[in-house]
C-alpha cells in the first residue's frame, strides 16, 4: 500500500495518458443525469414519500438548466466550429446542440403534463420524473454520440427507462402489457443493433464514426458482405426504434397502453434521439456507400407514409390513431434522410423540432381528455367538445391541423421542407407518394377535428361507424363505464344517426360527462405548443435558420 502511494506521489513513475474531458460538450446530459440521481437520492432520505410537485420542480429546473447549457454550447460551436471531444466519443457540433435543445424542451413539456396526470391518477413519488430525465439524457447522448458504441449506450439509457415508464400506471393492465411488448421488441432490436455494430466493426476496423468514414473513403470495396450485413442490421435496429414500417408493429399497442404523457414523450424524445443517431451514422459516416442504403430508406419511407396514413383511418382509439400518425410522420422525416443532402438533413431536423411541439401538445390534450383512469380515449369521447370547452377544442384542432400540414402552421413548412429536399435530388416518386399520404392523413386529422366541433351524436360518428361497420359507438363499448342510451342507437350504423337526428334531441344520444378538468400546467403546455405552431408557422424564419445552421456545422 505504502509503495503504491509512493509511486503515486513520485513524478518518476509510469504515467497514463487520460483523454481531456470537455465538460461543456456533455453539460446538458450531465445536468439531466445529475438531476435524476439527485432527485432519487434525496427522495430516499425522507421517511415520507415525496409529493409529485417536487419531482416536477426538479425535472423542470433540470430541463431549463439543460436548455441554458445548450445555448452556451450553441454559442461555443458557432464561434469555434464543430469539434470532436472526449477521445473521439462525442461530436460537439450544431447538429448535436440542436438535438439537446429539442430533447430538453420535450422533457420540460412532459414534466409539466405529467404533474397533472400523476396527481389525477394518484401516483406518488418522484420516480416518474427520475426515469423521464434519465431517458432524456440517453436521447441527448444519442444526439452527441460519435461512436457506434456510445450510440448503443445512449439508446439503452433511453429505452430501459422508457420500458419502466410505459409500465408506470400499474393500476391499468394495458400499461404493463404495453411495457412488456415494448421491452421484448426493444430488447430484440437492441440485440440486432449490437450485432450490426459488431459486423461494421469487423468490416471497417473501428466503431468510431469518423474513422469508419475515413476507412470507407480510402478503401474501395466492391461487395463487402460483412459491411453490408452490418449496415442492414443497423438499419433494422434503428427502424424498430423510430417505428418505421415494417418494424412498427409494436408501436400502436405501446402507444395505446402507455400512460398518455409517456406516449407523448416516447413519440418526441425517442424519435428525436433515434433520428439524430440515424442521420449522423448514415449520412455522415456511411455517406460514401449511400447507394447501398438509399434504396432501403426509400422503401421504408414509402411503406411508412402509406401504411401509417391508411391504417390510421381505421382507428377508433385516439392514441392508436396517433401511433399510426406518428408512423406517417416517420415516413416524412425519412424523406429528408433519403435525399442525403445538407438540405435534406436540415429539413429532417426542422421536422423533428416542430413535431416535438405538435405531438407533446396533442398528447397533453389527450391526457386531460382521457379523464380519471385513462378511460376516455375513443374518438367518440371527443364529440361535442367544442360546445363544452371551445378553447381546448380549438387548441387541439390547431395541433391536429399542424400535424396534417395545414398552411400557416409549422407542420406545413416541415412537410414542404422534406418534400422540396426530395424534389431537389430528383426524388419525384417519393415526393408524390408523400403528398398523397399527406392528403390521406389530412382526412383522419380533420375527422377528429370535425368530431369535436359537431353537435353530440350526429356528424362525428358517421365516418367512424361507416368504416368499421359496427353499431352505435356509445353502445358497442360499455366497458368504458360511460352511461349509454339504448333505444334508437341499437339498430346500428347510419340508421342510428338518422334516428338520433329525427327522433331525439341530439344531446341525449350521449350522456354528457361534463367538462374535463385541465390542470394549469397542462394548459400552459397546450398553450405553448399551439403558440409555437402558429407563430413559427407564420414567421418561419428563426426556426428554419436554426435548423439550417445546425447542419452547416455537421462534420
Amino acid at each position: 500500500m505504502s509503495s503504491l502511494l509512493l509511486l503515486a506521489t513520485s513524478s518518476a513513475g509510469p504515467t497514463i495518458h487520460v483523454p481531456h474531458v470537455d465538460y461543456l460538450s456533455i453539460l446538458p446530459m450531465l445536468i439531466m443525469m445529475g438531476g435524476a440521481l439527485a432527485l432519487m437520492i434525496v427522495s430516499s432520505l425522507f421517511r415520507k414519500v415525496l409529493g409529485v410537485g417536487t419531482g416536477t420542480l426538479v425535472a423542470s429546473a433540470a430541463s431549463i438548466a439543460a436548455l441554458v447549457a445548450a445555448l452556451f454550447q450553441w454559442n461555443e460551436v458557432s464561434t469555434h466550429g464543430a469539434q470532436v471531444t472526449i477521445a473521439g466519443a462525442i461530436a460537439f457540433d450544431g447538429f448535436d446542440v440542436f438535438i439537446q435543445i429539442v430533447v430538453a424542451i420535450a422533457m420540460l413539456l412532459t414534466a409539466l403534463i405529467a404533474d397533472g396526470y400523476l396527481r389525477r391518477e394518484g401516483v406518488e413519488g418522484p420516480e416518474f420524473h427520475v426515469l423521464a430525465m434519465m431517458s432524456a439524457s440517453g436521447a441527448m447522448m444519442m444526439g452527441a454520440a460519435n461512436d457506434l458504441i456510445v450510440i448503443f449506450l445512449g439508446l439503452e439509457i433511453l429505452s430501459i427507462a422508457l420500458y419502466v415508464l410505459a409500465a408506470f400506471n400499474h393500476k391499468r393492465a394495458e400499461s404493463g402489457e404495453a411495457a412488456l411488448k415494448y421491452f421484448v421488441l426493444g430488447g430484440f432490436s437492441s440485440a440486432v443493433f449490437v450485432y450490426g455494430i459488431a459486423l461494421t466493426y469487423g468490416a471497417t476496423g473501428s466503431s468510431n464514426l469518423p474513422q469508419i468514414a475515413d476507412y470507407l473513403s480510402k478503401t474501395v470495396i466492391a461487395a463487402n458482405g460483412v459491411l453490408l450485413a452490418g449496415l442492414a442490421l443497423l438499419l433494422v435496429g434503428f427502424g424498430f426504434k423510430i417505428a418505421a414500417v415494417p418494424f412498427h408493429m409494436w408501436s400502436p399497442d405501446v402507444y395505446q397502453g402507455s400512460p398518455s404523457p409517456v406516449t407523448g414523450f416516447m413519440a418526441a424524445v425517442a424519435k428525436a434521439g433515434a433520428f439524430a443517431a440515424l442521420l449522423r451514422v448514415f449520412v455522415s459516416s456511411f455517406g460514401t456507400v449511400r447507394a447501398d442504403w438509399q434504396p432501403i430508406i426509400w422503401a421504408l419511407a414509402v411503406l411508412s407514409l402509406l401504411v401509417g396514413a391508411v391504417v390510421a383511418l381505421m382507428q377508433r382509439d385516439v392514441k392508436r390513431m396517433m401511433a399510426y400518425s406518428s408512423i406517417n410522420h416517420v415516413g416524412f422525416i425519412l424523406l429528408g434522410m433519403e435525399a442525403a443532402t445538407a438540405r435534406g438533413v436540415s429539413a429532417s431536423l426542422y421536422y423533428v423540432f416542430t413535431y416535438t411541439f405538435l405531438v407533446v401538445g396533442s398528447f397533453a390534450v389527450i391526457t386531460v381528455m382521457a379523464r380519471d383512469g385513462d378511460t376516455g380515449n375513443q374518438i367518440s369521447d371527443y364529440r361535442g367538445l367544442a360546445r363544452k370547452q371551445p378553447v381546448v377544442a380549438l387548441a387541439f384542432a390547431v395541433l391536429l391541423l399542424g400535424q396534417a400540414g395545414a398552411p400557416f402552421t409549422t407542420g406545413f413548412l416541415a412537410k414542404f421542407g422534406v418534400v422540396s429536399a426530395q424534389v431537389a435530388t430528383q426524388g419525384y416518386v417519393l415526393a408524390v407518394v408523400a403528398m398523397v399520404s399527406a392528403a390521406i392523413a389530412a382526412f383522419f386529422y380533420l375527422r377528429l377535428a370535425v368530431t369535436m366541433f359537431s353537435p353530440v351524436g350526429i356528424v362525428g360518428d358517421v365516418p367512424d361507424d361507416a368504416i368499421l361497420g359496427e353499431g352505435g359507438t356509445t353502445v358497442s363499448d360499455p366497458s368504458r363505464g360511460a352511461p349509454t342510451v339504448g333505444g334508437p342507437i341499437d339498430s346500428g350504423g347510419a340508421v342510428s344517426s338518422l334516428q338520433v337526428l329525427t327522433d331525439a334531441p341530439a344531446t341525449t344520444a350521449v350522456i354528457d360527462r361534463g367538462p374535463v378538468a385541465i390542470p394549469g400546467l397542462t394548459a400552459l403546455v397546450i398553450g405553448v405548443s399551439v403558440a409555437f405552431t402558429v407563430v413559427f408557422g407564420i414567421v418561419p424564419g428563426p426556426i428554419l435558420d436554426f435548423a439550417h445552421q445546425a447542419t452547416l456545422l455537421f462534420p
Binding site: H170, E174, G176, E177, L180, V184, S190, A191, A198, R320
Partner: protein, 101 residues
C-alpha cells in the same frame, strides 16, 4: 493448435439466428428474454473474434459495455414480468391481448 477465425464468426451467426428465431417463435416471455441474451452474446463473440483478427483491444472493451447493458436490461425486464404475471398463472405472451386494432 490453431482454429480458423471463420469458425468463431460462423458460431456467432448460428447463435444469433437461434436467438432471433427464438424471439420470433417461442411464446414464453422468459424464453424470449433468454433468446435476446443469446443474440447479445453472439454479438459479443463476434466483437472478440474481430478484435483478435484486427489486433485491436477496442473490440474487446466493447464487450464490457454490451454485458453491462444486457444485465441492466434483464433487471428491468424481469421486474416488468413479475409485475404483470403476479396475477396470472403462466408467462405466455399470447395471453397479452388487451389491445388490438
Amino acid at each position: 493448435m490453431t482454429i480458423n477465425a471463420g469458425w468463431y464468426l460462423s458460431l456467432g451467426v448460428v447463435l444469433f439466428s437461434i436467438g432471433a428465431l427464438g424471439v420470433l417463435i417461442r411464446r414464453n416471455v422468459l424464453v424470449m428474454f433468454m433468446c435476446v441474451e443469446l443474440m447479445l452474446n453472439a454479438a459479443n463473440l463476434t466483437f472478440v473474434t474481430f478484435a483478435r483478427m484486427l489486433h485491436d483491444i477496442g473490440g474487446q472493451v466493447l464487450v464490457f459495455f454490451v454485458l453491462v447493458v444486457a444485465a441492466a436490461e434483464v433487471v428491468v425486464g424481469l421486474g416488468i414480468v413479475v409485475a404483470i404475471f403476479r396475477r396470472r398463472a403462466n408467462t405466455t405472451a399470447d395471453d397479452l391481448h388487451l389491445m388490438k386494432g
